[in-house]
């Protein structure tokens, strides 16, 4: 356990009327890109804030880079960079002034600052915007500036709360390229996201639902560990199909994914025949019915369904 950069044990955080974090435990290894994945209200922001030392938990333990977050939140702050969900930089300061401010706060040497800022700004294609007020940047550029400010010192752990929310695809790709390069240098990245396609880019993910941990593993292993399989039906009558098949034998859940319907079933090969027979019997037209590899989204929906059916004690 000593080699883990983030250790979370039985963490609990209550807000009036709601338990935001419910006995949460997980570890993150050095150089890992770890995703905290879940819908709104799952407790993603709360766990990020606790790890950043800006919100004390009610119970449990957490260490970041071997520093006790609960006992010594100020100590943690020298070792991390935290990017809150809401843009946290000064809109009335320029790109350069924001960078200099955070460099000063983290005690970065002046010569290092210049070299590092130039390198980081170049990496995210922002070199020519140094004199622009942060408030005049686009959403994607704001997030990239946030990352530049977060990386102006060398954090052991980078905490990003929904960093690519509302960011255009190009900026997103640059953003992820920077994260992979950081992880390659040994920086641990913990980022939260509600986008399941983004979760697939992480080395490992923790699925959160109502403050509880549902799964914690690599996206591939999670998919393979999944019991059962997914049948995809493409049809223009998706709603009618859902109504007709939701209660069929062996079907545990039905989700609309794009223009297709994903049915979570116990055994795809066996059920495809029954299901197509049923659709034909009900005279519902469909273009295609095939077995597919489950996506994180399927996995998530199924996990949440199980979790809701058997709430933890």
């Amino acid at each position: 356990m000593d080699d883990k950069t983030v250790v979370v044990r039985e963490l609990v955080k209550d807000f009036p009327g709601v338990r935001a974090i419910d006995h949460l435990s997980f570890d993150v290894a050095p150089g890992e890109i770890f995703g905290i994945v879940g819908p709104d209200g799952a407790g993603k922001t709360t766990i990020m804030r606790i790890l950043a030392g800006v919100l004390p938990p009610d119970a449990g333990a957490a260490t970041v880079a071997r520093c006790d977050v609960v006992g010594d939140p100020e100590g943690v702050k020298h070792l991390i960079s935290y990017m809150p969900q809401r843009f946290g930089l000064y809109e009335d300061l320029t790109v350069n002034e924001n960078i200099r401010f955070y460099a000063d706060l983290f005690g970065v040497r002046r010569s290092d600052r210049e070299a590092r800022a130039a390198e980081l700004l170049k990496a995210c294609g922002m070199s020519e915007f140094r004199a622009r007020l942060a408030g005049k940047l686009s959403g994607g550029m704001k997030q990239k500036l946030g990352l530049v400010c977060a990386l102006i010192h060398t954090p052991r752990v980078l905490l990003l709360d929904e960093p690519t929310n509302g960011v255009d695809p190009v900026s997103r790709r640059e953003f992820w390229a920077m994260l992979y390069s950081l992880a390659g240098q040994g920086v641990t990245v913990v980022n939260s996201t509600a986008y399941l396609d983004e979760a697939e880019r992480c080395h490992r993910i923790a699925l959160l639902h109502q403050g509880r941990l549902l799964f914690c593993d690599s996206p591939a292993r999670l998919k393979s560990r999944l019991q059962g399989s997914v049948v995809s039906i493409v049809s223009s009558e998706a709603r009618r199909i859902r109504d007709a098949l939701a209660a069929a034998d062996g079907v545990s859940s039905v989700v609309l994914v794009g223009d297709a319907l994903h049915l979570f079933v116990d055994d795809a090969d066996r059920r495809i025949r029954d299901l197509s027979a049923r659709l034909i019997g009900n005279q519902i037209p469909f273009d295609e019915i095939v077995r597919v590899t489950p996506t994180i989204e399927d996995l998530f929906v199924e996990a949440v369904r199980k979790d809701s059916a058997h709430p933890a004690p």
């Binding site: 804030r49 950043a52 030392g53 800006v54 919100l55 004390p56 939140p73 100020e74 702050k77 020298h78 991390i80 960079s81 935290y82 990017m83 809150p84 809401r86 843009f87 946290g88 930089l89 000064y90 809109e91 009335d92 300061l93 002034e97 200099r100 401010f101 955070y102 000063d104 706060l105 983290f106 005690g107």
Partner: protein, 377 residues
């Protein structure tokens, strides 16, 4: 405590103030505006009281008396009327505040050395002005009476009698008893309180509202570095405004300045720290710019106006109210300002109010620091 982080916070704050139109307006225009409006608006000197006269005699003697009213700077003889009804009408609609009626046998009685009653009717709806008008009128009539008496005695060849007791009044510090000389320094204290609190009350609340606080408190910067780093630029601006207020007082309102600039600077610096600390504390507690600026205004403007001894002497306040004056920083600063301007007092003579302000400033900065946590909880 890291000087580099502290200065980084100060630098950032300076950029923000310079780019914030509202803050600049407060810093640059507010002192000019408040000093002129309040400096001119509050004038406790009652001069040019409007007088109507009903001279029932019209003799040289009665004219002589009226001339004395005319030549006094306290009175303006607006009109002479010929009946009581006109006099009553003038008092009714406020064309005059004082009406003088001279009896028809005025000069005859004076000549015979008999007592004369001159009637004065006063508009008592403004008690303060009425009392002053009565006092000044008695002064004019008394002086006239004394000359007449002296004349009479001289004419009747009686031996000159000097009054047994007379008071030789000499006013120190404010020789002409001009109210502006103590009002204007008091206004400066109020102006600084309002500006200081308004500026700082926004600073922490703004960070919470714009969402920049969450990221700021996730860095190694300490609470004390944030407090001091943020107060420094406002301190500089506040001292600039103090200088502007003092300059307006001396060169525009011509208030005498007899003390030393050093004493003024020390007193103002301590007072400003107290005020900035108060504004900062309000900002920390409310976390909301609108609430902070309104509470700040309520906490400084009216109390500094009413409870500091600026408008009403503290000793004359009801006993139940007096204890509250001790928590008004302006109370101590006004004493310092008046003394430095008019008496030329040095630091030694002002030890009492200075120590009180130092304690006040320390408590405010302590409260601000204690209420500010690097935490979202």
């Amino acid at each position: 405590m890291s000087l580099r982080r502290l200065l980084a916070v100060s630098r950032k704050e300076v950029f923000q103030v310079l780019r914030d139109f509202r803050s600049l307006l407060i810093v640059l225009l507010m002192p000019l505006m408040l000093m002129t409006v309040l400096g001119y608006g509050i004038n406790l000197d009652t001069r040019h009281i409007r007088v109507f006269a009903f001279d029932r005699e019209g003799s040289p003697a009665s004219q002589d008396l009226l001339k004395r009213f005319e030549s006094s700077e306290y009175f303006d003889l607006v009109a002479t009327v010929t009946d009581y009804r006109a006099l009553a009408a003038a008092l009714d609609d406020g064309r005059c505040q004082l009406a003088i009626v001279i009896p028809h046998d005025f000069s005859a009685r004076l000549h015979d050395g008999r007592p004369v009653n001159v009637q004065a009717l006063v508009d008592g709806s403004d008690a303060n002005t009425a009392e002053l008008a009565i006092g000044y009128a008695q002064g004019v009539l008394g002086a006239y009476g004394a000359t007449v008496q002296a004349d009479y005695l001289r004419k009747s060849n009686a031996p000159t009698v000097n009054p047994v007791l007379s008071v030789e009044v000499r006013t120190w510090f404010n020789e002409d008893l001009e109210s502006k000389n103590f009002i204007v320094p008091g206004v400066a204290a109020i102006v600084m309180a309002v500006i200081g609190v308004l500026l700082t009350s926004l600073t922490i609340a703004r960070e919470w509202e714009r969402g920049t606080m969450e990221q700021l408190i996730s860095t190694p910067v300490t609470a004390l570095e944030i407090v001091i780093g943020k107060l420094l630029p406002y301190f500089a601006l506040g001292m600039l405004d103090t200088a502007v207020c003092a300059a307006i007082a001396v060169w525009w309102f011509e208030v005498p300045f007899r003390g030393s600039l050093a004493t003024l600077a020390v007193g103002s610096g301590i007072y400003l720290t107290a005020i900035l600390g108060l504004g900062f504390w309000i900002s920390v507690v409310t976390k909301n710019q609108l609430a902070a600026s309104q509470i700040g205004l309520v906490a400084t403007f009216l109390p500094s106006f009413l409870l500091s001894g600026f408008t009403f002497p503290i000793e004359q306040m009801p006993l139940g109210v007096q204890p509250f004056t001790y928590v008004i920083a302006a109370r101590y600063y006004i004493v310092i300002l008046k003394s430095v301007f008019l008496r030329g007092s040095g630091l030694g003579a002002l030890a009492g109010p200075l120590i009180a302000l130092v304690a006040y400033a320390l408590i405010m900065v302590f409260l601000a620091k204690r209420s500010f946590h690097k935490s979202l909880a």
